[in-house]
């Protein structure tokens, strides 16, 4: 585990933020748009981690919430101009919250493999709803010709048609989502959610409303994914059923695992890494998906701890930190995957057994 002095860490965060904010002033437009896209995927990965990492529930319908919010923007954008940001965003998020509450309440009645299958099925239900019916232009999708307008008392505050402005909005939203997620994870709610993940029976017997905790986490997570979907639809000016498809859900899951589930920031880094990698592969190989598939398989077998594990293999470990198993990540949550990576002597199957057996 690489640990930085708190002052150094703060300095690094400040530097990263300044560099991120300065990007549109320095880089060509293409990179600004690409960075916006990567940050939006980072937001989806961040939101999914609340359910997968902190809730211990492998959900495969997150793309459905991402896409649903995008379609809501499409429905609310008039033909002559942009939709009002202040109206369309809350309506889109409300729609996602309602759908996520229904899907979550039904799916959370199940456990393990069932939960994976049920979330996948409900997610695909939304996919086929937009794919097979005419409500959103069918399989062709629909265009959103105007970006939402952020106006106050009739005056346009920010012109989102400018890609640098849009970039800054996305950056601000991502930072907001990271702060919100950190607050959730550190709150009593977040602790109870993690307790239910680690030992459901004990959490139940201590009187925690496990079902309700998980449902709230599921809905909050869906709404953050919805925010990313709304912004993504605005950025590309186009929504298609593929935005809701489970291949996107699974790709986001790869980002979460790649970045590490133990921290709030990990999935965001995982998203940047995977999006960057995809971009390089796309431009170099015709059959880049084959390589993407092989990389995912390699991650499963060689890097269950994600990028953090890779960094530990490459960078020498400092000797003055005591036993590695006692080290917890910056946000104070112990993570089974990381502990496994740090203590090579332990049996990697031992800690997954518990979850495996009650299926």
């Amino acid at each position: 585990m690489i640990r930085l002095h708190p002052t150094m860490l703060r300095g690094l965060v400040a530097l990263t933020l300044i560099a991120a904010a300065a990007l549109p002033l320095l880089a060509p437009n293409y990179y600004v748009q690409f960075a916006s896209k990567a940050m939006l995927m980072g937001m989806v990965a961040l939101s999914l981690n609340l359910v997968v990492g902190y809730g211990g529930l492998v959900s495969l319908c997150h793309a459905a919430f991402f896409g649903l919010a995008g379609y809501m923007l499409g429905f609310m954008t008039p033909e002559s101009g942009g939709a009002s940001f202040w109206l369309s965003l809350p309506v889109a998020l409300l729609a996602v919250a309602v759908v996520a509450t229904i899907i979550g309440a039904l799916s959370l009645r199940t456990r393990g493999i069932y939960f994976i299958m049920v979330t996948l099925a409900f997610g695909e239900m939304l996919f086929y709803l937009f794919h097979d019916t005419k409500i959103g232009g069918g399989s062709d999708g629909m265009y959103i010709y105007f970006k939402p307008e952020i106006a106050l008392a009739g005056f346009a505050l920010i012109d989102l048609e400018k890609s640098s402005n849009f970039y800054w909005l996305v950056l601000a939203m991502l930072v907001g989502a990271i702060l919100l997620m950190t607050a959730i994870v550190k709150s009593p709610f977040g602790h109870a959610l993690q307790a239910a993940r680690d030992n459901e029976k004990r959490a139940l017997s201590l009187g925690f409303p496990v079902f309700r905790l998980r449902l709230v986490a599921f809905v909050v997570s869906a709404m953050i994914a919805g925010l990313a979907g709304y912004l993504s639809a605005a950025q590309f000016g186009f929504v298609a059923p593929q935005m809701l498809g489970w291949h996107l859900s699974a790709t986001v899951l790869v980002m979460v695992v790649l970045g590490g589930m133990s921290s709030v920031l990990g999935p965001v880094i995982g998203a940047f890494a995977l999006i960057g990698l995809e971009e390089i592969l796309k431009s170099s190989f015709e059959h880049w998906k084959l390589i993407k598939g092989l990389i995912i398989i390699a991650i499963v077998f060689a890097l269950p701890g994600g990028i953090r594990q890779l960094a530990e293999l490459v960078l020498p470990r400092r000797g003055d930190e005591g036993p590695p198993a006692a080290v917890t990540p910056a946000d104070g949550t112990p993570d089974p995957a990381n502990r496994r990576a740090e203590a090579p002597g332990t049996n990697p199957q031992a800690q997954t057994r518990g979850e495996f057996q009650h299926v």
Partner: protein, 289 residues
């Protein structure tokens, strides 16, 4: 709707349900016995159909395509079990989901390289061409009837193997309690491999059998995967009888849904699934209800 049209729709629904059962029974066996969630199941359904088209295009024989497609898929299943799936037994579901997602991308892209992404159709064997004239305007293809018969025979075979043979006894014991079966010295891990390969072969067989009555296209596996999942959720993990009930329910719901409520038909099966989940979260025949 007169009685004859109803009978035709009923037959269509049964036939759809029977094909669904073939594919889903492979999936539920792999879940129940290996404890491994295999999202790539639909990809093998697609691959089977493409293999059938490819072999039929070269040899001109549907029967060769059928045998060849199933054999290739079975061997592929054995290989995959040896290389990847064996290492997934006992790993958490997240790792299994990611591995099978990676496999889907690889299989899709290999299919693209070998067979392209065009939509194809496969001709049924000559002696099954033609249709039975029911009335002046209504006829029913012979191949669809043959398909029903083949699926019924295969379903009976699956039940016979599981309920009446030594192999089936090991499979049932393993589904009941994996560690105990292993502790008793039963060669359960070897059986695992054949169960996985058999499951893959059943998925491919489903794809091959429907190739003469529907089109062969790249995305055909995804739809089938979701439907198979719904079947397994309805029937209960590891239960072949549950898969049979679930598959027939979905086949009939979908077919009659398209007749009576065309605009809602794609939603109906999920409403059915939601209802079953409210009533029995572990499926109709699942353990722990």
């Amino acid at each position: 709707m007169d009685a004859l049209t109803f009978a035709v729709q009923l037959l269509n629904g049964l036939q759809y349900g029977l094909v669904l059962f073939l594919v889903a029974s492979g999936l539920t066996l792999v879940f129940g016995i290996l404890g491994v969630i295999n999202l790539a199941h639909g990809a093998f359904y697609m691959l089977g159909a493409y293999l059938a088209w490819w072999i039929a295009a070269y040899t001109g024989s549907f029967m060769l395509a059928l045998i060849g497609g199933v054999a290739i898929s079975f061997v592929l299943g054995l290989l995959l079990e040896e290389i990847f799936v064996k290492r997934m037994i006992g790993r958490d579901h997240l790792a299994q989901v990611l591995l099978s997602f990676g496999l889907i991308l690889v299989i899709d892209e290999v299919r693209q390289i070998l067979f392209g992404k065009d939509v194809h159709s496969v001709a049924p064997p000559a002696w099954l061409k033609g249709s039975i004239q029911l009335t002046d305007i209504l006829s029913y293809p012979v191949y669809r009837i043959a398909l029903c018969v083949v699926c019924l025979v295969l379903a009976a075979l699956i039940f016979f193997v599981i309920q009446r043979t030594r192999l089936g006894m090991i499979i049932r014991a393993g589904a009941e309690n994996r560690d105990m079966t292993r502790a008793l010295g039963i060669p359960f891990d070897k059986v695992n491999r054949y169960v996985f390969a058999g499951g893959i072969a059943l998925a491919a067989l489903g794809g091959i059998l429907v190739s003469p009555i529907s089109t062969v296209f790249p995305g055909m596996g995804d739809g089938m995967l979701i439907l198979s999942f719904v079947v397994v959720v309805l029937g209960g993990i590891g239960s072949v009888a549950g898969a049979a009930i679930g598959a027939l329910m979905i086949g009939l719901t979908d077919t009659f849904g398209k007749v009576f409520f065309p605009q809602f038909s794609s939603i109906l099966i999920y409403v059915l699934m939601a209802g079953i989940l409210l009533w029995r979260p572990n499926g109709l025949m699942g353990k722990g209800n």
